[in-house]
């Protein structure tokens, strides 16, 4: 608890800076069904922001609007304003390819490509032309794997298939893959839900290390996890953003009755 207090004082100092992401009045429809109702939120540059809430509350849906992954679902429709560094990401001038290079994503289930470990990490840099030559590409791959805390485990087996790794390693490979395109924001959609506790601990440790270099938004249904790794927490319920604030505040002194009920395990 004392450590969390330290984190909190740090984050309040940094929160004064311009938000990295800003959403205003965002609603999302799947066909006629409204999944997200009028959500406004600001995501810090230097902090880990956690979205919590019961299943089906719309937290993942909202996360996917932040890098326009909902575009791949034909029936999904987004209303409202979302800005990345003050730029409207649903605006006419926004190139979705560019956006996704700036806002990376890690999914619930590890999804390495059925390619070698090296090719998995090199995929993004290759399509965006980030490396001038083979040496530079090697360097990017090594740096990304190091940052994802996977380098020591895989440096001798880079040509092996990414799908041959363990679940936790696969997820760190996916994080390395996202880091390799040098994003500004990393969205994580329940990244530990398919992993065992030891692998989960490693990912949490990694998130802790990545904090500050990337703005991180993580969706989790695990409240202890949100309390451990995030500085700010948003509680979603039935498509609404119920409460948003400092993590310590949300978990110790929630202002809304619904949040309190959820935190104390009354439902969800």
């Amino acid at each position: 608890m004392t450590m969390m207090a330290n984190d909190m004082s740090m984050s309040t100092a940094e929160a004064s800076a311009e938000p990295k992401l800003r959403a205003a009045g965002v609603s999302v429809w799947y066909g006629p069904k409204k999944a997200i109702d009028d959500v406004s939120i600001e995501v810090d540059r230097e902090n880990v922001t956690a979205f919590i809430g019961p299943s089906g509350c719309g937290k993942s849906t909202f996360l996917r609007t932040l890098n326009r992954m909902n575009d791949t679902i034909a029936s999904a429709r987004v209303e409202g304003l979302i800005e990345l560094d003050g730029e409207d990401i649903y605006g006419k001038d926004m190139d979705v390819v560019q956006l996704r290079a700036r806002v990376g994503m890690v999914f619930q289930k590890p999804n390495p490509f059925p390619k070698s470990i090296f090719e998995n990490v090199a995929y993004g840099p290759r399509i965006h032309g980030l490396a001038a030559g083979r040496d530079e590409l090697d360097e990017i791959v090594e740096r990304s794997l190091k940052r994802a805390g996977l380098w020591e485990e895989v440096k001798d087996r880079l040509p092996e298939s990414g799908t041959a790794l363990s679940g936790g390693q696969q997820q760190r490979l996916c994080i390395a893959r996202a880091i390799a395109v040098d994003p500004e924001v990393i969205l994580m959609d329940e990244p530990c839900s398919a992993l065992d506790p030891i692998a989960t601990a490693k990912i949490e440790e990694l998130i802790h290390e990545l904090r500050g270099r990337y703005a991180i938004v993580i969706v989790t249904h695990n409240m202890q996890q949100a309390a451990r790794i995030s500085q700010r927490t948003a509680f979603f319920h039935l498509g609404e953003l119920v409460e948003y604030g400092e993590t310590s505040e949300i978990f110790t002194n929630p202002k809304v009755e619904r949040t309190k009920d959820y935190i104390t395990g009354r439902y969800g």
Binding site: T72, V97, A101, G104, M105, P114
Partner: protein, 462 residues
């Protein structure tokens, strides 16, 4: 008694058994203060008895149908008239056949007077055995039904037994298909062995000359025939595996990619069945489309370009065949692209890849084994295709790589060799079986390889 009537009678015994057994089982369930619980519901008891009544009787009937003529003939041979039968087997068989036909009423009188005298013996024997068969079948039906009926008890495991029998029935059904295939292979093999006794396999498999004319009579002017099948194999591969695939692979693959990745669900709903209509067009329709529409067009192009062209060409046949097999390629590619998990696609898109980059670098490589499997199946379909090549490819066994020239294929030659009156002891006719055997082996190998490739791919994501 006619077999149909007999069959109906046996089925009737079964139906009665079914009703009776069900009713009896139901009385067990209803009666008694002890509230007996049946192991199986009454319907299963019904089936248990019905199957016991019908199946042994039917098996007996089938066996009887096979054995009866021999029994009848055996009895007829004991009649006094039979002593006058000629000794040599051929005449003897002819007289017996005539007598049998007279007895059955198929013909009025025999060519050989002896057969007319033998006919009554046949007629009486046939009647005797027919009644005997009917009585035995009905007895068997009753006996089987009664045997099962008296065994009906609450604890009888009727359901288990009926289920086991159903499984057996299904097994027999699948064995029939397999045995038929084995029979086809065997008949091909037998005829091919006769062919290879006349023409050496080495000449057949490596010779460059195909000219299967053989003299039918000793005094006839005609060649002794050349049976080098290489030009046929080349023509088959040229049309089915090269030209048709050049058409079908890109078109099939691209339409599959469009349908799975780009098309709006409504567009997909209309386009996919429309594409599959291609697979439903009878091949003979493709054949005359190729021969009457495409071939003249191809010839004109060829002449315009100054290439030696004939009115029947490899290009016309192969091109139309390529169109025909587009659905094979596209539906396999469609399935395997759709089987690539959505998470792969999301993963790539989330890294900022465009849709086409995602398709080229992630989806197609991941789906490649399935796509290759589909292509191999399509090739095996194409090289076995007959109608189009018979009508549009020609019959000249040319060993040429000019797509505007006429070539011939294995299947077209088989049709040619076996059409019309043939003598089945000449190398010319027997060659068709050797060709068929080679074709069978090739398509079998292609199918095995294709299925293995597809299976390997399936394991990758499970």
């Amino acid at each position: 008694m006619s077999p149909l009537l007999l069959f109906l009678l046996v089925a009737g015994v079964g139906a009665v058994g079914w009703l009776a057994a069900r009713a009896r089982a139901a009385t067990f369930a209803a009666a008694g203060p002890g509230k007996v619980r049946l192991h199986s519901v009454p319907t299963y008891h019904g089936w248990y008895v019905a199957l016991w009544a019908v199946l042994p009787a039917l098996i007996f009937l089938v066996a009887w149908q096979v054995a009866e003529p021999a029994l009848v003939a055996g009895a007829a041979l004991h009649s006094p008239a039979a002593a006058e039968l000629p000794a040599d087997a051929m005449n003897r068989a002819a007289v017996l056949q005539e007598a049998r036909d007279i007895a059955a009423g198929h013909i009025q009188g025999g060519f050989n007077p002896l057969s007319t005298r033998l006919a009554p013996a046949f007629a009486s024997a046939a009647q005797r055995y027919s009644i005997m068969g009917a009585v035995l079948a009905l007895l068997l039906a009753f006996a089987g039904g009664a045997y099962a009926f008296v065994r009906i008890r609450p604890e009888l495991r009727a359901r288990t037994r009926v289920e086991r029998l159903v499984m057996l029935l299904l097994l027999v059904a699948s064995l029939i298909a397999i045995l038929t295939t084995a029979g086809i292979v065997f008949s091909l093999l037998a005829e091919s062995v006769r062919f290879f006794a006349r023409v050496s396999p080495i000449e057949f498999l490596t010779g460059l000359q195909w000219s299967p004319q053989t003299a039918m009579r000793a005094d006839q002017a005609g060649s002794s025939g050349a049976f080098g099948a290489i030009p046929l194999f080349w023509g088959t591969i040229f049309i089915g595996a090269i030209i048709a695939m050049i058409v079908a692979i890109p078109l099939g693959l691209m339409s599959a990619i469009y349908l799975t990745q780009y098309a709006h669900p409504t567009a997909r709903k209309w386009l996919k069945p429309a594409l599959e209509v291609l697979a439903g067009v009878p091949t003979v329709v493709y054949g005359y489309f190729a021969a009457l529409t495409v071939a003249p067009m191809v010839r004109q192009w060829g002449e315009a370009m100054g290439i030696a062209s004939s009115s029947e060409s490899a290009l016309a046949a192969g091109g139309v065949m390529g169109i025909m097999i587009i659905p094979f390629v596209s539906s396999m590619a469609d399935d395997s692209l759709a089987a690539v998990p959505q998470s792969m696609r999301d993963g790539s898109l989330a890294l900022g890849a465009t849709t086409s980059e995602t398709i080229a670098k992630v989806l197609v490589p991941a789906a490649l084994p399935g796509i290759v499997g589909g292509i191999l199946l399509a090739v095996s379909r194409a090289i076995g295709e007959t109608m189009i090549v018979v009508m549009a490819a020609g019959l000249a066994a040319n060993l040429t790589a000019n797509p505007f020239a006429s070539v011939t294929t294995v299947t077209a030659q088989i049709v040619q060799l076996l059409t019309g009156d043939q003598e089945f002891d000449s190398a010319k006719t027997l060659a068709a079986f050797a060709l068929g055997l080679v074709l069978f082996v090739i398509t079998l190998l292609l199918n095995i390889v294709a299925l293995r490739v597809v299976k390997k791919y399936r394991e990758a994501y499970e």
